[in-house]
Structure formats: C-alpha cells, structure tokens
Amino acid sequence: MTTAAVNLDSRAHYLNADYGIKSWLLTTDHKRIAILYLVSITLFFLVGGIAAVLIRIHLIEPNGAIFEPGAYNKLFSMHGIIMVFFFLIPSIPAVFGNFLVPMMIGARDLAFPKLNLLSWYIYMVGGVLVLYAVIWGGVDTGWTFYTPLSTTYVNTNVISAALGVFIAGFSSILTGLNFVVTIHKMRAPGMTWFRMPLFLWAMYATSLIQILGTPVVAITLALVALERVFHVGVFDPAVGGDPILFQHLFWFYSHPAVYIMILPSMGVVSELITCFSKKRIFGYSFVAFSSVAIAVISFLVWGHHMFVSGQSIYAGIIFSALSFAVAIPSAIKVFNWTATLYKGSVSYQAPMLYAIGFIGLFTMGGLTGLFLATLAVDTHVHDTYFVVGHFHYIMVGGAMMGYLGALHFWWPKITGRLYPDGWARLAAAVIFIGFNLTFFPQYLLGFLGMPRRIAIYPPEFQVLNVMSSAGASILAVGYAIPLVYLIWSMRYGPVAGPNPWGAKGLEWETPSPPPTENFPQTPVVTEEAYAYGK
C-alpha cells in the first residue's frame, strides 16, 4: 500500500501540485474546482438525504409518526430546495463537467478559470444562505415558492431561501457560460464537433438551458423576495396581480431544469455504454442532436405543470402537444443505447451496472411522463404521488444513477486509484432494488389519489407507504456503501494507471491523476469518438 502511495507521488500531478487549504480555496485549476464542488455537493446531498429519510419515517403512520404538519412542511421544503438547486443541478455539470470538459477537448483549462472559481464561491454563498434559512426557522413553501402563499401567507425564512436560490442561480449561469465558450473556442486541433464525445454534446445542451433559463427564475424569485419585503403585489391578487403568472415564470426555468439534471447523465451513459461494450455509439448524430433537441423543446413545455392551475384550456392543449414532442428525442436515445450493445463485447464492471440501471429507471420514469403530458389523465394524477414517483424516477433514478456511474467511471482518473469493484457492484444492485421499492408504490398511491406534500393521509394508503419507507431505508444503505469504499480507496486503493477501463477519449491518454496542465503538449485528434475498432 505504501509503495502505491510512492508510485502516485513520484510524479507531479494536480493533487500534489500544491498543499494546504489556501492552495484549494484559491485554485483556478478546473480539476481542483471540480473537487471543491464534489465535496460541497456531497455535503448538501447528505443534508437533503437526511430530510428524505425523516420524511419516509414520518409517513409510516397515517397520522404521521414524528412531526407536526408544520414541521413536516419545512422538512419537505428543505429536501426539495437543497436536492434540486444545490445537489442535482450542479451535480454532474459542476463536478464532472468541470473536470472533464477541458480534458475531453484537449485544453489546458476552461476558458475563464477565475470565473470558474467565482462560480463555486457564488454557489457556496447561496448554499450557506439557504442552509441558514432551513436550519434556523425553516422555510415551508415547498421548493416551488408558489405565490401568494410564499409572498403573503407564510411566516418563515422565504426571503433568505429565495435569495439563496437566486444567488446560486448565477453560479449555474456562469458555469454554463464557461462550458459553452470552452467548447466553442478551445477544442484541440482535429477535435471537430462530430468527433466530440457525446458527454460534451450533453454538457453543451445543458449549458444552453442554464444560460437561457436560469435568469428567468432568478428575477422571479427576486420578485417574490421584493414582494415580501415591500408588500408590493406583482403576483398578489389583492392588487390585481396574477399568481398564475408566477407559475409561468417559475416553470419556464424549472421544467428545463429537469433536463439540466438528466441531460448530463445521458451524456455519461453514452460514454459508459460504449466503453463497456467496446463499441462506437450506435447512431452518433442521432444521440448528439437529440441532446440539443431536448434542450430546445424543454423550453416549450412548461405549461404541463399548470394543466389544472386555472390556465386557459387552449394553452393547456398547446403545451400538451409540445410535451409529447420531448418524448421523441428521449426515446431515440434509449433505443440507440440499447442498439449499441448489439454484437458488442459487454463487460459488467460497476460503472456499466449504473449505466444499465439508468436506462431501466429512465425508461420507466420517462414513460410515466406520458401520463402527465396527457391532459385527461394528468387531471387525475396531477399533484399526487404519481408525480412524486415520476420525477424521482427521472431525477433520482436517472440523474443520480448517471452521477454515480460517472463517479465510478472517472474516479480512477480523478484520484489515481481503484475502488473494490465487488462492493461497487453490490451498491449498484442495492440502490436499484431500494429505489424501485421506494418509488414504484408511489405511482400506485398517486393513481389512488394520495396528494403530495401531506403529513397525514387516509389509512387505506398505509400499506403502500410502508413499502415505500422500507425501500427508502434500503436506498439509504445503498448510498452509504459507495461513500465508505470510495473514501477508503483514496488511501488504500490499488493504483489505477492512466486507462484502467481501456476507454477511448483524450482524458484517458494522460496519466491518472492528470498533471496540472492536463497534457504534456496540446494533443492532436485524428480519429472519431469511440474508435474502439482501432
């Protein structure tokens, strides 16, 4: 083990380039900033995860096992705000995007390294503000901040929570901006658009959403905060304002935000599937353009969150039609991934298990989205546990599986060490089983009509709720296992070498962990992505 440590440190790389807390907090190295994000989003995930576990324990009893309704409301609001804005949205872009975008295109760093560090600080300021809000006094508006509840009727820390999200939004915008400029301007010689790994296409599409959507939710939440401070009524019916306008502006961002979470995972899955079946991707251009198509169409469908909101039914019909449109590129991706396995050389190391888990869960989550795009059916299941089940299949089943897949795939590159593959496979299986047990019953609950966000429910729903809670405990164990062995591997894991998976891509051509400048000299690209035949 000690020899391993000697091996890694015998040469200069980004981790041993400098030591001390200052070398981390003032770094402009994209790889170190990625680590800063990795640590901070893990902390936020733990906070949000504890809230989730408490929610599920509470719901074992129809009358609620632990909390008063008011406390329960604060708990699910905290879970939603932290998981959505401080874990899922930054997760893959801020950690793996930061680490990989420059390496995959053969650049030394992102286009604006200082801006990149600034993004992390902005994110932390927003995060601290929100943590303050949820821990000292709490927020009970839900992550959706619906008016006039949030502006006039609740007495909790709405202002600091809304400002926290507002501030964190700029972190997301600047990260997206950095990626788009980097992908446009910093590609190594020979790295044409159609030679780029699909992860980069996905990151590019994600960045478009971050750039064009986030400012709208920022100004909207700023208006909510102002309305609370000054009691002016932009969304207040008492002054003639319209609360439904708030929903339009909010969902204009917050629906595409779902694709900020899922698109990067789709990019990761494209990398994993090709690597572990030793094959080029089936239908490269279809997979690449479907990412961009998803990003664009995602901006046209927000009204399906408002089918029963009092929105005009004609607008509802338009939004319903457009919502179906977004299903097509998603379907194209799933079929192409499946076809990539055909005649491949498929191996089942841990990252591949996560990728296959992603495809399964995303398929189930995506298909249940059809129910919610269908006006007549949505009328029944809207705002019920069906919706909760659906978006957890996408955001936890999909985005989280992709995140863990990425973590296991690039961990040797990031740390230079391997983790125990057996444990990793076990964790993947436990997570897959726990996840389905947790969230599948929620579809049934929703069909039966159990509303979301309630602390007390009719006793006939108890069986399914208990199943869901049981699943949640398995899921929690599943998430804890990687935490243990990954930390263990940082010190005791075997040395990985530059390319432990036999993967293609520029990031694998440099040592693990990579040197500060990524490449000894600027690489020249001569072949397409996923050239596994060569």
Binding site: H184, P215, A218, I219, F230, G233, G240
Partner: protein
C-alpha cells in the same frame, strides 16, 4: 517589446491572442443573452399586465415626465458614443484619449443615475407613487396604477443597478488605462465592458417608450 507585451497578455489556457479575444467576446455575448432573459422575466410580466389593465397603465405613464425621460435617453446615447470611442482608442493604443473617453462615459453614466434618482424617483416617492413605501394614490385605477408603478420601479431600478455596476467596472478600467495596461494587443477588457455598456443602453431604449409613452400624450 511588442512580443513580450503580447506574451504577458496571454493567459496560460489559451494558444494565442486571437483565441483569447474570441473567447472573451463570445463569453460577454452569452452573458448578455442571459441578461436578455433576466430582463425578459420583467418584460413578460409587463406585457401581461399592460394588456390586462390598459387604462391603469396609460394613467400611470402620464404621471411620468416625458421630457426628463427623453433627456436621459439622450444622455445614455451620448455615453454609448463615448464608450464606442473609448474602445476605438484602446484598439489604436491611444492611452490619453482612452482615459478621456472612459472618464466621459463614467460621467454620463453617473449623470443618468443622478437624474433618475433626484428628478424622478424622489419626485415619484413624495407624490405617493412608490408602491410598498409610499403609495397614496386613490383614483379610479388605483390598483392597476400601483401595478404599473411596481413595474416602473422594478424595471428602472434593475436597469439603474446595471448602470451602477457598469460605472464600477469602467472605474476599474480607468485605473488600469491610466497605468497603460491596454493596447492593440490587449483591449479585450475594454471591448467586453463596452458590449455590456451598450446592452444596458439598449434596455433603456426599450424602457423609455414602454414606460413613458403609453397611451399617447395627445
């Protein structure tokens, strides 16, 4: 001399100055796209309410002083000109005229904000047109008038905030220009700040008719 100057101007992640220049201006254009959407939220709300309450919005608009609005528009257009000239001076390496034009731009920007603050906002406040602070109007369209003034203060306020940030940025550039930091090889900062400044001008070009000229003055 020119070579060493160029080398120090090039950040380590870029291959050459052209790449660096393109990246900087692309970055700023993308940032401006996000600004369009940031103001876009306000414009969307404005569009909805103006069409729901045409009389209230017209009445509110008539409470504003067109002359001051028009003068301020002219002030901003002047500042855009001086900013464009400042960029030109930087491109050509004329240090003194760069400093002069930056100073002029800052002065015009401050003039705009001061006119806004003293002649308009203060006046509107004392007249009782400031929703949430001092709103005393009680005419037939009081509610929709209040909504108009909400948007008036929000939009002009966010715009003025952008002006103040712009003035701050130009201040930093002014100090650097005084030290002779800019030249034909190195004017990205001035150019991107100029893009931002012109964008803020464009926002006002739309705010002026949308806020001051509703419903006709005939």
């Amino acid at each position: 001399m020119a070579d060493s100057h160029a080398a120090s101007a090039l950040a380590h992640q870029f291959e050459d100055l052209e790449q660096q220049h393109d990246a900087a201006s692309l970055g700023m254009w993308i940032f401006l796209a996000t600004e369009v959407m940031f103001f876009g939220g306000l414009f969307a709300g404005y569009t909805i309410y103006r069409n729901l309450y045409p009389p209230g919005f017209a009445a509110g608009s008539h409470m504003l002083n067109v002359t001051i609005g028009a003068i301020n528009t002219a002030v901003l257009i002047c500042s855009s000109l001086t900013m464009a000239l400042a960029v030109r001076a930087a491109q050509m390496g004329k240090k003194n005229s760069l400093v002069a034009f930056l100073l002029l731009t800052i002065a015009l920007g401050l003039a705009f904000v001061l006119i806004k603050l003293t002649l308009e906002w203060r006046h509107d406040y004392w007249e009782g047109f400031a929703p949430g602070l001092n709103f005393t109007f009680a005419g037939p369209n009081a509610k929709s008038l209040e909504l108009f003034f909400c948007f008036y203060f929000l939009m002009t306020g966010v715009h003025a905030l952008h002006m103040v940030v712009g003035v701050g940025v130009l201040g930093v550039l002014l100090v650097q220009a005084g030290k002779g930091r800019f030249g034909p090889d190195r004017f990205n900062a001035v150019e991107t700040a100029g893009l931002y400044w012109h964008f803020v001008d464009i926002v006002w070009i739309f705010l002026f008719p949308l806020l001051y000229l509703i419903g006709g003055r005939y």
